[in-house]
Symmetry: C2
DNA sequence: CCAAAAGTGTTGCCGGTACACCCATGG
DNA sequence: CCATGGGTGTACCGGCAACACTTTTGG
């Protein structure tokens, strides 16, 4: 099972599938599936992610292994979580059916106690945001610091101070200036930044 | 599979089993086994832990789910790690066979790439030590701060400053004074401390 | 009297947080 | 001319690391 997060319109969203078959038919659930013969766990998670979003070069990490989700379910479920920039998903999934994303804040009950998984994934994401550069996967290659700050705020669920935020991400070497600027709408051009690394770097 | 850590003579040790059957007969490996019908993952890990050490009320947490350990092995392995105070293991395992513990520092190759698991467990342990009170499981109920410091030093692999260590664990409320003292050997009596909580408290 | 361990304060540095104003542009 | 968003500096506070000497006791 894979928890696929995106940030959309300043809110954190998760990709859900409406179950077509029993049990829990008609309810929303996280996308999942069975391991194919000869496939690794990470490989299966990546495949599932590519199936749903069309992207593959993103942050994807094992989350936890659950068992006894729901009532009768005795199976164990290895979960992963991924971070995807919405803009990139369109590239391959544009013409096909777009799986619906849902605001995390507005969710009700999901099938198979998937809320537990989602809550855990959210917590891990919040934590990782503080010491790593995982957000690279939620932004285009070049971006303005304000845009980046929006992503952080969406995930943490609180507003941040602009100057402190800039000092931190630049000062600690998470991102670097590209030298290029962008002119967007009714304001002066903004410096574009990029991540110094795409690895889950630890500070 | 369970990684069972203890601290012995100022060194970090891990409990290993010598494989009696092929494959990898005669090599050292982490204790493990199959899930019994109707058993939860956490339950199975706890059972395995009790089998080997006789203790049950200790820190035990899921570590990671591996797959493709070793060459031909296609199975996936859910690993846990546990922390055990040596003194407590004797209570139940005294008369029976004592599974051998090995200094982590002195290990060579293990069966099934178990080194990877062990290395990962060590890293997690080091990290958790910094923000949680997991060490409660490696010490008797009451202990001197010097003894506690030895445990921390054994795990972190470096010596710590006595005054800074005391300030931190007392000041941040990880441990509290009991009011009782202990007179041990050729020195003045030492205050005994205890953990304020046995939960994996996060600061 | 000596070895062994317990106990105790101060200082400097750094990272985190709080806080307010000016500037360039497009409409 | 005004609305929008970009950009910038300072002051306080708390945690963290470095650092050395005195006391008690058992042998």
């Amino acid at each position: 099972m894979v928890v696929i997060f995106t940030v959309e319109q300043d809110g954190l969203s998760v990709l859900l599938i409406e179950r077509a078959a029993p049990p829990c038919r008609g309810q929303w659930a996280l996308p999942g599936g069975l391991l194919r013969p000869g496939e690794s766990l990470q490989g299966a998670a990546g495949r599932k992610l590519a199936d749903e979003t069309g992207v593959s070069d993103v942050f994807l990490e094992q989350l936890y292994t659950f068992d006894r989700l729901g009532e009768g379910q005795a199976d164990t479920v290895v979960t992963y979580f991924a971070l995807v920039d919405i803009a990139r998903t369109r590239l391959r999934a544009e013409l096909e059916w777009q799986p619906p994303r849902h605001r995390v804040r507005e969710l009700e009950r999901l099938a198979f106690e998937n809320e537990r998984i989602l809550a855990y994934a959210q917590e891990r994401l919040r934590n990782k945001l503080e010491y790593t550069n995982v957000a690279y996967s939620l932004l285009p290659r070049r971006f303005t610091l304000t845009r980046m700050q929006r992503v952080y705020e969406a995930i943490l669920g609180e507003t941040l101070d602009k100057r402190n935020f800039r000092r931190r991400v630049v000062g600690l070497g998470i991102v670097r200036e590209t030298g290029q600027t962008e002119k967007t709408g009714a304001h002066r051009p903004a410096m574009l930044y990029e991540f110094t690394s795409r690895e889950p770097m630890i500070l």
